[in-house]
Structure formats: structure tokens, C-alpha cells
Amino acid sequence: MSTPTRTPTGAPEHLTGPGSGGVGDDAQRPDGVLKVRGEFAYGSDLWMADMLWGVTLRSPHPYARIRSVDTSAALATPGVSAVLTSDDVPGEKVYGLELADQPVLALDVVRYQGEPVALVAADHPETARLAAGRIHVDYDVLEPVTDARTALGHPTWNQVHDSTAEVTELSRESAHLHPEGNLVRHLKVRTGDPAPTADVVVVGEYEVGMQDQAFLGPEAGLAVPAEDGGVELHVATQWLHVDQKQICAALALPPEQVRLTLAGVGGAFGGREDLSMHVHACLLALRTGRPVKMSYNREESFFGHVHRHPATMRYEHGATRDGELVYVKAAIYFDGGAYASSTPAVVGNGGTMGIGPYVVPNVHVDCYGAYTNNPPCGAMRGFGSVQTAFAYESQMDALAAELGMDPVELRCRNAMEEGSATPTGQVIDSPAPVAELLRRLEAMPLPAASGDGEVDLRDMPGGVSNTTHGEGVRRGVGYAVAYKNVAFSEGYDDHSTARVRLEVVGGEPTATVHTAAAEVGQGLVTVEQQIARTELGVERVVVHPKDTSVGSAGSTSASRQTYVTGGAVKAACEKVRAQVVARAERLVGRTVPDLRLAGGAVVSDSEDITVPLADLLGDDVLEETLEWRHRPTEAIDPETGQGFAHVQYAFSAHRAVVDVDTELGLVKVVEMACTQDVGKAINPQAVVGQIQGGTAQGLGLAVMEEILIKDGKVRNPSFTDYLIPTILDMPPMRIEVLEYADPHAPYGLRGVGEAPNISSGPAVLAAIRAATGLPLTRVPVRPEHITGT
């Protein structure tokens, strides 16, 4: 069987790159040269000479019963090789990350617009699309449930937020969308006095719209039938092994016969954690006996992956007259859409961290995830914390205003620090410099005021549309701080696997690092090289293609890969190093306590020993494979939320400066500043890149990004209508990266990727409020929210 190629060069490739640099250096990406040359093979670039193209027929209705499906006209279309429906799924017909509730292809009911119903494979994508249009599906259209609180039977806040009357009765919920009802998860946090009182109380209701990951490279992959009756899938994804597990179940094949290799990934941000075309392409390949490529366009991509949960939230904060938080009560509703995806974990994060990085003695949180007929929602960078941060930080500003206190002062007064207890009873056992992050932001210089001297239209809200020359423009400054759990929580067996090989290739000591950890753009391949260089003292480190021939690395999500896969690579290197040192000691005939690897040799600082690895290893290959785990977490108590739920927290803070045209409601973000503690920056340049990118996505949610849904239907599935920040929307940044080591983590590092995505948007929202004096309780903020028209 030939292997897939990306014309004109092969893929996937062993990455070496010209780079150098160990832990703490600005090492360059090993895939960077391929990427700037247009030679990096994304999933959409894969190609085989005899391949077919697969397309998906999707439901136009958010909720309908399927009476019948007639595929005969599609099958009769010249060039069509196969048309498949749920009847053709040989194994489990439903799948899911946490709960298997989502049909591979629709069974008797479709529960969201865009749900896959049938598949076509043909010799040309246009033929396949034409044939898909000839599949006749007879739908009995049903009334969709499109609101999470309605789905759960909690139409009014009072009903759910009377803290003395626990809401466990869900009898008034809407018609069940799934057999067990519409509640995916209800998380409770209870600590302290159940009926606290305070001098000052602020209450707010908040809403966060549905955000899309909007990764730039749409879903794509190529399935190749194998001679052993199995299938090889090359796919852009975030977690090869969880894909493999679900594909195996659907295909009724063992893992040995479902082999996955990571294709080039054009961004992910959570949107590739669930299956998209994976099983579909495999089904078509196994049916036709030919390679099948599936490559979504942008519109299909909007229907082909889960989104960030929209949220509605009600918060009540009580504080003493001098600004000490006494209690927080919160009801948080996440709309999970039609299928569970990772909703239970999103509820876990939203609930356990839903009051922010503050010390509060009395906490009462109810966090719900619901099924509706909206698009399924699941993982997106920030994962349950992005939504709640808008609410709790808005509350902190409201409380500061009520108290007549400076918002930063109020935050610092209540900020978590090392040794503080979270509302779930977890004592923070590593640095938590929340107040310092804010104080450092405060100390940074502010950008020059707008409108000084001659007006440059490009600096104005509305830009060269010439909507204002400065009249009606007000400046605002806002702050926000966030924390986020790193890695998997609540007792999950979170681990990664690394295989490290050391050998001499062409006279040069060469390490090969093999993990299944998905590189999605963040730069993990660079980190893997840096760790191997540092631990093994060699320059040349090859990154093996990511595939399932090595054990699971867990997901590229939850800011976890540098921590967990980095930890696995470090530990595997240490085992290889121990072998090398033992050999060197055998060679010198005695134990030398300070032998280490550096410069491609075993050296001692105390004695004059230098044994080149080329001499020591000869033709031998040293290899170690191991699974590595961070310290275990615990399931939380279902009634109180108490427990050691999270292994590590990441902290970041933002200051946003905005100019708002208060007459037209246009916002220009003038500057974003960020401080973040990363424990140890393994690659400072990449860390800064994560902060910059996360900041932009948070800004996007604050002022422009929303999937608009009406009656369960997506209104804007394109980049014409779903707006993400352009280079003109994203202002210059000031960044300070702090390194307070976490003693529990490899190198003291702290996960980086998500925190800046969480604090950025609330800072922008705070700045707009400061500029306008309006309460602004919904994001994205639209012009009409500012103008009131």
C-alpha cells in the first residue's frame, strides 16, 4: 500500500530543523522552515493517486424525526462509489468524548442543524456533492428547544437562585431531547455559611454568546484501507488516541487495525477534540477499498465542530464596607447543545473556578450543563472559565463602584495567594501571584491619549470609515484577572507517553523523541526538542511523526502538553541518560558521582573525563518508553464540590485600553497589556506567542465574535459574517512573563495557553464600561448595547 503524499513532497515528516537551544531558550520551531516554504502538509493537502472524495449530507433542521432516507438516486450517479447511512455503521452507532450520545450518522432523530445524516464517496468532490443533494431524506420537523434554562425547566432566576431552596426538581423541563433528560451535569459548590449576610451586596445577570474556535485550517483527513482489513487515518486532530478509541468502537475493529497519524493541523483551540470526519472517512474507505479524503470548507467547518458554550449567569456578591468579600452566590447555565461532548468537564471548570481567583469564605454555586437543539458545544480554549470570568470580573467592578473603591485595589485585597483555600477546599500549594500580576499592570505606562494634535482617522473607532474625528469618543481602562486549571482534573488518570531513543547517526549523537502529542501550532515539537537537548546534552533531536504506534499523550488541551508530555519526555530522557552514565562508568571502571551529558559527551566537572557519545554508543541504540503522570487529583463531592480537583492553576491578568465612539457604539481597542506567571518559560518566545494569540481570541469574544443562532439555526457560518479580529483590531501589547516555579511540576513550569484567553475579554469589557458608564452585561458587546438604540 502506498503512503499518502502531499504533492510535491512527502508527509508526515520527521522534524529536525536547523535549530538549537535547550530549556529556557528561544529555540526555533523545527517545522518553521517547512511552514514558511508552503511545504508543511496540512490534512487538506494530503493526496493519493487513486483516492476518492467523501462528503457529508447534513440535516437542515435543528430537530426532526427521520421518516425515511432514499439513497438510490445518489448511488446511481456516475462516479459515485458508495452512499452510507447509519445502517452501514458496523459497530457502536453513537460516540462521544465523555458520554456516548452522538450518532456517527443520524439514527431516527436529528437534534441539531448540520447533524450528519449520510455520506457519499465519489471520484470528484463535485460529483460527491451533487450525489449528496440527490439523497432524499423525509423529515418530520419538530419544535426545537433552544434555551438551556428552558430545557431544564428553570425559566426564572428566582426559582433557581433561592439559595435556601435547593433546586433538584426538574419536572418542569422541556420535552426530553435525550432519554435521561436534558440535564448533562449539575455541579454544586457549597462552603461556609449557607445564609450569609453582608454590608454591601451587588447582583448581576450576565450572558456570553457562542464563540467559534475559527481555526484557519478546516477539518480534513485521509483514510487509507489497509491490507490487514484495518484502516490508516491521517487526520488533523488534538488527541489521536481518544479518536482511535471512538473510531474502533464505531468500526468494530481492534486498535491494532485502526492506526492514526497526525496530519498537519491548522490550529485547533479545542475544536478538534471531538470527532468530525474521522469515522466517516474510515467507513467510506473500508466500504470502497480505496483511500478517501474528506476536507470541509469553511461553512461546513462551522457545522463540523463543537463551539464554546454560550452561558447565562446570575451572580450575587456580598462584601464588608471596607471591601472584604463575604460571600458569592452564583447560578451558571451552559448551553451544551444537542450532544454532551465535553460539557460535563466544562461544567466542572465553570463551577469549581466560577468565582475567580479570590478568597471567599462563603460560596454557593450551582453550575448546570443542558441539552438543547442548538449546535453541540464542547472544548474551546479557556473551557468553562472564559464565560464565568466575564461574570465574576464584572461583579468585582460593580462591587468596587458600590464601595467607592478602586477596582484593582478591591481585587488585590481579596486576591488568592499561595496557601489560600479555593471554594472547593483545595489549598493552593504553589505560587499564586494574583495581586502582583495586577500591580505590575497598573505600573505599566498608559498609551498616549487619543486626539492629541492632528487626528489620524486610523486611530479612531470606525477607522477610515470617517465616522468620527474624535467627537463623542471616550477612553476607558479596564482590568481583569483569571485563573484556570492546568491539565485534566477531578480524578482523571491524566498521563502521557514518551519514547526517547539515543544513537549515533552519521557520527553525530542523535536523539529521537516519539510521542502522540498533537502539535497544533503551539510549538510542542520545539519544546520536545529543547527538553531532549537539555537532558541528553545533544544538539540533534528528531521529532518522530505523531501517531498511535506509541502510547497516548492525552489531549492537546487544558494547557497541559508542556507539563504532561514535557514531563514524560523529560522522564524518558532521564532513563536514557541513566543508561549512558552506567555505560560510561563501566568504561572508566568506577562510579563518578557528577557525570552528566553535555556537548555530545559524558563529562565530569570534578574529574577530567570526557567520553564522546559517538565512542560510547558505537552502533548501539538506547531507547526508553514510559508513561508519566502528574500527581493525582480527586473527584469532588457531588453535594458540596469539595475535593482536590485540580493539579495546577495558571494565573494571568490583563489591562485593556479602549476608545469608544459613544454616539455610534464603535469600539477601538488601543492597547492590551498582560502579565502572566508561567512558572518556567521553556521557550520564552513561544510563551509570549501564546499570550498574544490568547489575548486576541479573548478580545474577539468581547467585541465581535458570536455564532448567531435563531430557532436553532446558525445565521452566520462564514468568515464574512462571523468576524474574528484582524491585524487592525488587535492593538500592540505590553507583556511581562513571570516565573515563580511550581515545585510540583517539571522544571517548575505552569501551563500557558488558556489563561490569557480568559482574562483578556473581561478587561476589554471593563474598559468599555469605564468609557461609557454603562453596565454592559452581555458579550460580545454590540454597537446597540452602547448606543441604546
Partner: protein, 184 residues
Amino acid sequence: MTQINVRVDGASYTDDVEPRTLLVHYLREQLGKVGTVVGCDTSNCGACTVHLDGQAVKSCTVFAVQADGCQVTTIEGVASGEGESATLHPVQRAFHEMHGLQCGFCTPGMIMASIDLLKENPDPSDEEVREGIEGNLCRCTGYQNIVRAVRQAAAEMSGKAADDPQAEPAAVDTAAADHVTAQA
């Protein structure tokens, strides 16, 4: 079908295309030039940007027949020389060295747009870089390092060092405070 003659990255091609075939699909599916990628289909993202007779165009908004008789340069034709020994264009090198990319999907289009910008304005300010490539979306980087990369390339191409602090690499400044390691 309509016959077209085009030079793409220095090689001549004569091909039959449907009149409705987009240039990007011709490049990718008929010529195998998949370095030019499709991000949105609606001309919003600019990932498919190529040069048509030296000018940056979004190849999803150009028909293949419009390229008849033209020179097309894609990201694959920007470096000089072939294979391993090829020399990167200064803009390519700067995007790599200044960490101007993460997933890299926008990178071909960003580089093609930036080369066109620098031809018109060899020494752009940060603001002029932003104005110049505003038609290209990036979802990973927040654009900061893209601005730095274009400034860096401009400096290299004009033979002078980048003078703006924004065009310097992110400073690793341990002197600022015990625990501040990187500032940007």
C-alpha cells in the same frame, strides 16, 4: 473547457480548465501546488494569497482563466534555489525567526501579502504594516510577531538593522525583576 497558458513558480503550463475554476483550485488540484491553502472560500482570510504578475491577489477570487498568459508566484516559488540548499526569501526567514507563525496555515498568504507590501513600501512603520496586510487573518499569533517579522524583513532587505524596538525580538530581561523573564 478553456485552454490556458500560465507560468507558475517559473515553470510553464498549458492546461484545460473549466471557465468557473478558481485559480486556487487550479493551483492545488491540477498543479499540485498545495502550499497555497484555502481557509475560508469567501475571500476574507487571505490564506490563498499568491502573486499574479507580481501583485498579491487572493487566488480564491480569481478564475484560472484570468491567469491565462500571466506569471503566477506561489509560496513555493518564493525561495531561491531548489531543495535543501534553497535560500529563503527574507520575509520567509523573518516569519520563521521572529516566531511570526504558529499553526502556519495563514503563513503562505501572509508572506505573499507582505512581500507585495514591501515592494510598495520598503520601510513601513508598524501601523503601515498593519494597514498593508489587513486582508489576511491569523488566528494563532495575535499578529504581534507578524508585524515584527515584516519589519525585520524590511530592515534586512534594505540592508539596515531594524531600529524600532517593536522590531526587536522579545526581550529576555532578567534584570527587570527576579521573576520577570520575558517582556514584549
